[in-house]
């Protein structure tokens, strides 16, 4: 049933091509926010924001707001894939 499916945990995957580790993967509740996933991914990849860069998550190509829930992005899907983007503020 659709409602039951929405309450199931979502498989989250965050890739980062220049990370020293492989992709970040976790199961998370649908109401988990992008900001929470971002913080976990930043810890996993051992990177940090500074005056030159801000790390953000992109889903389907677009930068996603920290307050957005992963359930609202995933819809009926049981997995969601983000890319960790080293967003350049310099230039």
């Amino acid at each position: 049933m659709a409602e039951t499916e929405r309450n199931e945990r979502i498989q989250v995957r965050v890739s980062f091509p220049i990370g020293k580790k492989g992709a970040y993967e976790a199961k998370a509740e649908p109401e988990t926010t992008v900001g929470v996933v971002l913080a976990d991914a930043i810890r996993h990849f051992e990177v940090q924001n500074d005056s030159q860069f801000t790390y953000v998550l992109a889903y389907d190509g677009l930068e996603r707001n920290d307050s957005t829930t992963i359930g609202s992005l995933a819809g009926e899907e049981d997995e969601i894939k983000f890319t960790l983007v080293k967003k350049i503020t310099q230039g």
Binding site: I18, G19, K20, A58, G61, L62, V85, G91
Partner: protein, 152 residues
């Protein structure tokens, strides 16, 4: 100028992920020596589509010098082996300078030449993982989130 065998092998390892990524985003990747009349295995031609305007296409020339150790030169061109000084081949995006035919950001040879200080610290060129994929994903992200049109 072309690349040495080590760079060639490293690029061969990493380019498949780049081609897959571009294809998923409506783009394309071609190595110069696989194109008609081409011979330089250190140059790639990338077709990139900005998500906000799916009918638009840009062609970028990426030239590697030593992979993964050095950032590539990035130029936008009107056609494969076309002029690298055509401003209308360039997108309008933050840090992309059609008037100077360069990208003033810590992600390419031109950026590091303009700002040598970027070679140090967090702005330094990354050599871990797949920097080829990283630079292309970064460009695609900028096209998807910061595209303001085509230069004239």
């Amino acid at each position: 100028m072309s690349i040495d065998d080590e760079s060639f092998l490293n690029l061969e390892t990493d380019e498949a992920a780049v081609a897959k990524f571009l294809a998923e985003n409506g783009g394309d990747l071609m190595r110069d020596d696989r194109t008609e009349g081409g011979a330089d295995r250190g140059i790639y031609w990338l077709t990139i589509r900005p998500r906000p305007v799916p009918t638009e296409r840009f062609l970028a020339r990426l030239e590697w010098f030593a992979y993964p150790y050095q950032a590539p030169s990035i130029k936008f061109v009107p056609a494969i082996r076309g002029s690298i000084t055509t401003s209308s081949a360039w997108p309008l995006m933050t840090g992309y300078r059609p008037g100077s035919f360069d990208i003033c950001r810590p992600m390419c040879h031109e950026g590091y030449t303009t700002h040598p200080e970027w070679r140090q610290g967090s702005t330094g060129w990354p050599t871990e993982g797949n920097p080829f994929l990283w630079v292309v994903q970064t460009m695609q992200f900028q096209f998807d989130n910061d595209y303001q049109g085509r230069s004239t």
